[in-house]
């Protein structure tokens, strides 16, 4: 639990540092990320080298933000098991073979590799988004996209109280483990009471928060405050990357590059 809290804290902190990417309007980053994801995921299952130029997006963003690459690696690591679990069936079930540099391997390995690369790229894009934007700015971006206020406000509240409740849970778990040494989890008899206690405490806290909100004039409506409108450099950012994504999608850039090189050599 502490680890998760730490992760969230870390990403939030990273997003608050002032640098050129963090300072961009959150809507810009959100839209660019979504476009990126759509493009990456739209590649056919056998296209591998054509997919590779898209690695420029995360790499360049990483370079400009000094994000620790370990954070991305970690999350790729967490996502991989399920992906590998499903993807590994591809080589097993695909009965076609293909020749690569003279070796004959199952086509399924290509699709597997494709999935793997897509996993790396999509996870990286997701991490980059939150690590350069931060939750409250993302909330404003969602509001701009006309996402219902109720959802955005309660999203922010959930985010806010995860650390509070997380700490409460950590204390409860510590107390539990001191009286149940060696146990790795909550035993059956305590399932209801342990979780239920946290729930009741959370419920009471919610009542207090509600009171606090009402006392400061809350009546259901959410005012987000002023958000700077996107500037010209935002448009350049989005359009520039979009052009690159589309070009990479339509043209097989590495093949062209490679044939240039091999053409020169031969």
């Amino acid at each position: 639990m502490q680890n998760s809290l730490h992760q969230m804290r870390l990403l939030d902190e990273l997003a608050r540092r002032p640098n050129s990417i963090n300072n961009l309007h959150p809507l810009t980053k959100l839209l660019t990320t979504l476009a990126y994801l759509v493009v990456v995921v739209s590649f056919g299952r056998y296209e591998i080298s054509a997919l590779l130029p898209l690695v420029f997006y995360p790499v360049i963003l990483l370079a400009f933000t000094d994000l620790p690459i370990g954070e991305i690696m970690k999350r790729i690591g967490w996502t991989l098991p399920f992906i590998i679990g499903l993807g590994i069936f591809n080589p097993l079930f695909d009965h076609q073979t293909v020749s690569v540099l003279g070796f004959s391997i199952s086509q399924g390995w290509l699709t597997f590799l494709s999935i793997f690369i897509k996993c790396v790229l999509t996870v990286a894009a997701g991490v980059l988004l939150i690590a350069t934007t931060g939750m409250d700015k993302l909330g404003s971006a969602l509001r701009m996209l006309r996402v219902p206020k109720i959802f955005v406000l309660q999203l922010l509240l959930t985010y806010r109280y995860i650390s509070v409740l997380g700490n409460e849970l950590a204390r409860m778990l510590r107390a539990y483990s001191l009286r149940a040494p060696g146990h790795k989890g909550i035993k059956r008899e305590a399932w209801g009471s342990f979780t239920g206690n946290l729930l009741l405490r959370s419920f009471d806290r919610a009542q207090r928060v509600y009171a606090a909100m009402c006392l400061r004039g809350f009546s259901g409506d959410y005012h987000a405050g002023r958000m700077n409108p996107p500037e010209r450099r935002e448009m350049i950012f989005i359009l520039g990357w979009l052009a690159f994504f589309i070009a990479a999608r339509i043209y097989d850039l590495p093949a062209w590059l490679g044939s240039l090189l091999t053409g020169v050599i031969s």
């Binding site: 650390s163 509070v164 009171a211 606090a212 909100m213 009402c214 006392l215 400061r216 004039g217 405050g225």
Partner: protein, 257 residues
């Protein structure tokens, strides 16, 4: 000015489970007064605060703020004049940045964003944490949270400040800072606390609650140096007034105030 006055008349309140929390309570608090409300746990202090803010509604009697009776209809208007600081600042800091929390109240009043920003900066300057404006609440220390929570209320420019245990869980320096801060406020102040030394320093008047009723109401020094009264109400004297632990001589014999 009459609109800073808070009057409680013949107040009665019982919880759904039958527990009679407030019995026939009456008192008046005037403009600019600093009143400490003290009592043992379960005496009814928190209930009283909730009744004052309109979170609970009395079974009998009434609460009048200024010239307006507190009812469901007048609640919103009255809440603009009363500002309550909760015991647990985490309940009050529910947005993702300090700025948004302090701005929450003014924004709900429908103020222009420029005015809101000004109020936010003013409030944070008043409590001494202007540098924390963009900090996330989970990164604040206990004292900083407390200051931020106070700022969230100050930005609404209330006439009357109600504070529930403002110095609880604070380390000595933070506690001192909050106490000094309270002394600078010119608002009418109603403070509940177990920290009797703080009450002695910051409040001129003290109301003692015992078993849901007012047991004593008067000058802070007088009440807090009356050991029998305090003992009857489940309290004891503030540490600063108790007998010297070394020589045993009474501090009351000297003219402290």
């Amino acid at each position: 000015m009459s609109h800073h006055r808070v009057e409680v008349r013949d107040l009665y309140f019982s919880y759904p489970d039958g527990h009679e929390a407030i019995r026939n309570m009456s008192f008046s608090i005037y403009h600019g007064e600093s009143v400490g409300i003290i009592g043992a746990n379960g005496a009814g202090k928190s209930t009283l605060l909730m009744l004052l803010m309109g979170i609970l509604f009395p079974d009998g009697g009434e609460i009048v703020v200024g010239d307006t009776r507190l009812t469901r209809k007048t609640m919103t208007m009255i809440r603009q004049r009363l500002g309550m600081v909760f015991q647990d600042p985490d309940d009050q800091l529910f947005m993702t940045t300090v700025r948004d929390d302090v701005a929450f109240g003014p924004r709900n009043f429908g103020l222009e964003e420029a005015e809101v920003e000004m109020r936010v900066e003013e409030a944070l300057a008043q409590v001494g944490i202007p540098h924390l404006i963009d900090r996330a609440p989970f990164k604040l220390s206990g004292g900083e949270k407390r200051a931020a929570a106070i700022a969230t209320v100050l930005s609404m420019k209330p006439d009357i400040l109600i504070m529930d245990e403002p110095t609880s869980s604070l380390d000595p320096k933070s506690r001192r800072r909050v106490m000094e801060l309270l002394k600078t406020f010119e608002h009418t102040k109603i403070i509940t606390s177990h920290d009797l030394d703080m009450v002695l320093e910051t409040c001129q008047r003290v109301i003692v609650i015992s078993n849901g009723a007012v047991a004593a109401d008067g000058n802070a020094v007088n009440i807090l140096s009356d050991p029998e009264l305090l003992d009857r109400c489940g309290l004891e004297m503030p540490l600063s007034l108790q007998n010297c632990p070394h020589c045993g001589c009474s501090k009351l014999s000297r003219d402290r105030f």
